[in-house]
Symmetry: C2
Subunit: 351 residues, 2 copies
């Protein structure tokens, strides 16, 4: 079986370089050409990460179970799974996956099927940030919740978990509008009482408070659901007011898509008359709008990667009884939907 040294000789680089590249720790350290050379040499020699080779001698299968609740119903799933999978693979692990389609009656048989195949650890992945009632789990199996938090933290087992920073993301969105000069900022949210709804409202309020702005509760409206048509209705409600907001923070890119439509119907330009910030950075939506939407990136890939790191940390002997918790930053992605408010046009409209 080929070693890292064999790969290094074939690629004409040092063993340290091979190690970095194959562990995915080469960002900013080696050129793309060197990276490609190492990967090609590894492939040609049929190099398999050492952990797998070692696993053959241990009781480990180097397999992590991934139980997800709705891969099929959300385009985000790919990034969550890709992050977990890529990190696992870099460390010599593979994912054995089941998706229950959100039918929690299948959780228990799914976990049984996974444990029968001797998984070393379990990632329980939620397709949106929610509170999780975990099914009974085998003793000693490291478990991490990905994009969710345990509903009940009291079962004596340290369950690590990772969620997006809903509050920080919303705060960054509203601060972007405040920085551009807006002081009347609407919030188009949605009705479901989930952590994202509560966290994004808290961020909206916190950004106002920190800037010394009062929150005008009449500028907060909830769309009937998280879709563009209902987003358009909610936004129209705010934009028809004579004292309409000049900036709008939307719960999601889909609601923002509706807000663009409402603005257009009222002959308001984006961003000339109305600046908009979304949330999700949803592929093929945020960057396809005209103008492209400034939004908040949900850190799905990073959360997925963290989840694999978390169970691998437990597998490497970390038996801290405290759960490890990560609230992953949700960064602002600047595009073209925010500018300084057009005060002269507003004055004309009020006159």
């Amino acid at each position: 079986m080929a070693t890292q040294k064999d790969v290094a000789v074939r690629a004409g680089v040092s063993v340290a370089t091979v190690s970095m590249v194959l562990a995915g720790r080469d960002a900013g350290r080696v050129t793309p050409l060197v990276r490609a050379a190492v990967q090609r040499a590894a492939a040609e020699l049929g190099y398999v990460p050492n952990l797998i080779a070692r696993g053959l001698k241990t009781r480990r299968t180097h397999t992590i179970g991934l139980l997800s609740d709705a891969v099929a119903s959300t385009p985000f799933a790919g990034q969550l799974l890709a992050g977990a999978q890529q990190e696992a693979w870099n460390r010599g692990y593979l994912l054995l996956s089941i998706d229950t389609g959100g039918d929690h009656a299948l959780d228990a048989p799914a976990i049984q099927a996974l444990t029968q195949r001797h998984i070393d650890a379990l990632v329980y992945a939620c397709m949106y940030h929610r509170e999780v009632q975990l099914p009974p789990l085998p003793a000693g199996l490291p478990v991490v919740i990905l994009d969710g938090r345990p509903a009940n933290e009291d079962d004596g087992r340290a369950i690590d978990w990772v969620v997006p920073d809903e509050v920080g993301g919303a705060r960054a969105a509203v601060e972007e509008l405040i920085r551009a000069g807006h002081s009347r900022i609407g919030f188009c949210t949605q009705r479901d009482d989930v952590p994202a709804t509560r966290g994004r409202l808290a961020g909206y309020i916190a950004a106002h408070r920190d800037a010394g702005l009062d929150v005008d509760e009449s500028l907060i409206v909830a769309a009937d659901d998280n879709t563009a048509p209902h987003g358009a209705n909610a936004a129209a409600h705010l934009l028809r007011r004579p004292d309409r907001p000049t900036g709008l923070f939307c719960f999601s890119d889909r609601i923002a898509m509706g807000a663009y439509r409402a603005a257009r119907a009222l002959d308001l330009g984006v961003p000339s008359d109305l600046s908009i910030v979304g949330f999700d950075n949803q592929e093929f939506v945020a960057d396809s709008l005209a103008p492209p939407l400034t939004t908040i990136q949900l850190p799905h890939f990073e959360m997925g990667r963290w989840s694999a790191q978390a169970v691998l940390r437990r597998l490497s002997g970390d038996d801290d009884p405290q759960p490890r918790i990560r609230v992953m930053p949700a960064p602002l992605i600047r595009r073209g939907s925010v500018q300084t408010p057009n005060v002269s046009r507003l004055r004309r409209q009020h006159a």
Copy 2:
């Protein structure tokens, strides 16, 4: 270990009903309530499909390897994987997955990692319909290509494969426009020379031919890439002509999104002045446009399901040396972007 009979007793239904529900063959045969009762009883009893129980006595691991090339970069991946996964799970199999991110140098080590874990079969999943150069594969391992076809069919092994019916889908799109009364139908395609480009062009031409319409090649324009902004440019090119088309078939929903924008910029209503049909039925795009987009459904879920069925058929002893090939129908999804052409307005414009 619980049996199907135990589940039947607990759920108060027949063993035949339990068998149907747990095999996913109950559609249209049992009520949702009965289905839920069976699933709940199975979960409460910790029922595990027989195949797994039997697998403990055989050399099978009841695990299918799934090697994919770019889960992270497309929102379609979820449906492909969900279809494969759900069918496998209904038959007592789980998926062990690796995504190479499209780096084919990783194919060989990925397959080695999968075979070391004793997969029974392999699904090679492409994230868009393409021709696949398969890496070397262990002898005797059943393999299916999902959303792709082998570039070289000559290696002596029967590789089953499933792809979407690009020609039939495009034909259905253009026929929908012809049925509504359109005879000048543009085609906004894109430049990449992939099977989708060739197949959709063939379908566009076939629909014209079958309806006795000439193809006006000047109505076929290629966007620089498969995005809304370039789709808008390509569509504007057609819509600025005095003899502009009244119907437009777009290579993708993203290009259709650009076509909506181009129509709006030229003050053309959709569908009053321009009917549009897309392709993909892309979640959060097709149904979020105003009006909602009539489009063609890429059958990702069904292809995923077929891929699992194909390897399971091989595992159950089908050693037909001919590859089994499935060109999966891509059905029309009618929404609100097609209507009869507005001849009077066209005449006014031409006058």
